[in-house]
C-alpha cells in the first residue's frame, strides 16, 4: 500500500518535471523590432539571440523560445501574452 503511494507520487512529480516548450507563433501584425524587444525583456536574451528567435518565428511560423519546468513555462506564456504575442505551452518531445 505504502509502495503504491510512493510510486504515484513519483509519477506525478516526473510529469510536472518533464520539460515544456514555450512556443511563439507568427503574427503578421506584430513588428519584428517589437518581437525582438519582447524576447529581450521577457527572457533577458541578447539582441542577437532574440533576433534569431524572431526570424525563426517570421520565416518558419513558430519558434521554441524556452524549454524547462512547467510552472516557469506557464509564467513565460503569461508574460508573452501580456505583450500580445501568440504564445503557447507544449510538451517537449
Amino acid at each position: 500500500m505504502t509502495e503504491t503511494v510512493v510510486e504515484q507520487e513519483t509519477k506525478s512529480s516526473s510529469a510536472v518535471d518533464a520539460p515544456w516548450n514555450v512556443v511563439v507563433h507568427n503574427d503578421p501584425v506584430n513588428l519584428t523590432t517589437y518581437v525582438t524587444h519582447v524576447f529581450q525583456k521577457v527572457f533577458g536574451y541578447s539582441r542577437t539571440r532574440a533576433q534569431k528567435h524572431m526570424l525563426e518565428v517570421h520565416h518558419r511560423g513558430r519558434s521554441i523560445v524556452w524549454t524547462g519546468a512547467r510552472e516557469r513555462a506557464e509564467a513565460y506564456v503569461e508574460q508573452l501574452h501580456g505583450y500580445l504575442l501568440l504564445a503557447t505551452l507544449e510538451k517537449s518531445e
Binding site: D27, Y34, E74, H81, G82, L84, L89
Partner: protein, 164 residues
C-alpha cells in the same frame, strides 16, 4: 509631426497636424476589442493548442485573462492621460504633447494592441498590411493610414526605449 527626444524626460511630439492628432486620440478606442469576437480572441489568445490541456485553458480564462485585461487597461489609461495634455495651437492648428520615459512601454503596448484589434475588426489580410502606398480607390485608405501611422510611431518609441 516632429518627434524630439528630450533629456531625461522622454519625448516631445510637436507640429502635430489635425489628422495625426485625431489618429493619436483614437488609439484607446481603436485598441478596445469590445464587440468583436475575433479581436477578443486575438487579444486573449489560447495558451495551448493541446486538446488534453482543457483544464489549463479553463483556468487560464478564469484566472489569467482578468489579470491581462487589467494590464492592458492600465496601459490605455496612461495613454489617455497623456492625450489629455495634447495642446492645439489655435492659430496654426498644430498640436504638441509629451510622453514621459516611463510611459513609453504603455504607448508601445497600446499602439500594438490598436493595430491588432483594427486588423481583426476589419478583417485585414497580410497583403493589406504590406501594401504601400494603399490604393487611393480603396475605401479603407484611412484605415491603412491609421495602421501605418501607429506602426511608425510604435517603431520610433521602441527605438527610444532601447536607446543608442
Amino acid at each position: 509631426m516632429e518627434i524630439t527626444r528630450t533629456e531625461e524626460k522622454g519625448i516631445r511630439l510637436t507640429r502635430i497636424d489635425p489628422v495625426c492628432a485625431e489618429l493619436l486620440r483614437r488609439v484607446p478606442a481603436s485598441a478596445d476589442p469590445s464587440g468583436s469576437d475575433a479581436a477578443q480572441q486575438r487579444i486573449f489568445s489560447a495558451p495551448t493548442d493541446d486538446s488534453g490541456e482543457e483544464q489549463f485553458a479553463r483556468d487560464w480564462q478564469e484566472f489569467v485573462e482578468p489579470e491581462l485585461a487589467k494590464l492592458f487597461q492600465s496601459a490605455l489609461q496612461i495613454i489617455e492621460g497623456d492625450l489629455k495634455k495634447l495642446r492645439v495651437d489655435a492659430i496654426s492648428g498644430e498640436g504638441t504633447m509629451s510622453v514621459a520615459n516611463d510611459h513609453l512601454e504603455s504607448w508601445v503596448h497600446g499602439l500594438n494592441q490598436a493595430r491588432l484589434v483594427l486588423t481583426e475588426r476589419h478583417k485585414l489580410q497580410e497583403q493589406d498590411l504590406e501594401r504601400s502606398p494603399p490604393l487611393a480607390a480603396d475605401p479603407r485608405t484611412f484605415l491603412f493610414a491609421q495602421m501605418r501611422f501607429y506602426a511608425d510611431l510604435q517603431g520610433v518609441f521602441l527605438h527610444v526605449l532601447e536607446g543608442p
